[in-house]
Symmetry: C2
Subunit: 185 residues, 2 copies
């Protein structure tokens, strides 16, 4: 029976290494070193670096996303931005997510895992928000969920992950209002 505390230590170490050096530079030896375990313990559980990361990403997927239902489009969008901003401010997440996205272009398995772990979940939430807004008459029939996601999350991701500039006070409120205006255009 594999010891669970060792497994947990390895999982935590992978996140650490992923954030510190990125997927490309990450090594099994480095993971074992950081976790304070032997390489044997790692290879007994996963057969490769790729399998290890895929397992981790899938685990994140299982957590699911809360779908906002505030009763107004602005409220839903604002709530979405809050959750996204909170996630993207985590130093680990803001380092690991773009790193894996880049790597996904080279490893279809990673692309698939990220798609079902993150993008599909986001798409579902966006679709629900759009559906509710259409039902309330805030958006016209046939509004597109993909487009909505682009308009809502895009500016925030750009600001927090690409430009990496501080957001002024009230910026999320502003972004939410801007996104609602864009959606209705």
């Amino acid at each position: 029976m594999l010891r669970e505390d060792v497994t947990d230590a390895i999982r935590a170490a992978v996140f650490g290494e992923l954030a510190a050096v990125g997927y490309a530079r990450m090594s099994i030896e480095g993971i074992a070193r950081r976790a304070g375990v032997g390489k044997t313990a790692v290879y007994r559980r996963w057969k490769s670096k790729l399998a290890l990361v895929l397992d981790l990403v899938s685990a994140v997927a299982a957590e699911g996303l809360p779908a906002p239902a505030t009763g107004s489009l602005y409220g839903d969008v604002r709530a979405l931005l809050e959750v996204a901003a909170h996630a993207l401010r985590h130093p680990v997440a803001s380092q690991v997510v773009p790193d894996l996205l880049v790597e996904a272009a080279r490893h279809p398995e990673i692309a698939d895992a990220i798609k079902s772990a993150l993008l599909d979940g986001q798409h579902g939430v966006a679709a629900a928000v759009v559906r509710d807004a259409v039902a309330r008459g805030e958006l016209p029939e046939g509004a597109d969920a993909d487009r909505a996601l682009d308009l809502i999350v895009g500016p925030l991701y750009w600001r927090l992950v690409v430009v990496r500039t501080a957001m002024p006070a009230g910026y999320l409120d502003d972004l939410a209002a801007s996104a609602v205006a864009a959606l209705k255009a």
Copy 2:
């Protein structure tokens, strides 16, 4: 006197390697191999992988960005999106840019180089577009160029680089209209 054709071959090889394996995995040996030159030729010109990449990024910066002046906010935004979409559709650019952005978080020199090569230029263009729009009365006084850039480029970057999904016909027109509506909100 260093031979210029060799220098060019190395530069091209760096772009190739950067797109193929990423900055982290890129090696001087690999660059020389791809360029069909000896390692000596590389080390004679640059002292490290980092210096090589910084030099390349700076060279890109020197090219500059065309500032649109179509006479309307929508026109300017649409032109900006066209240029950005064209650049981000290049397979090499869409692979290299996010890769270097991730690496920038670990190497301040790369962050600085990218900032002056890409972000500063974009900021300048956005500032000009906003200034013109304010002068025409299309935007209120004190409109923020950073916010404008987030709203214009963010959704496109998200779609093309993060989600990597095809854009439906006329999507750039739609994005431009949406961005204008967002800006005026």
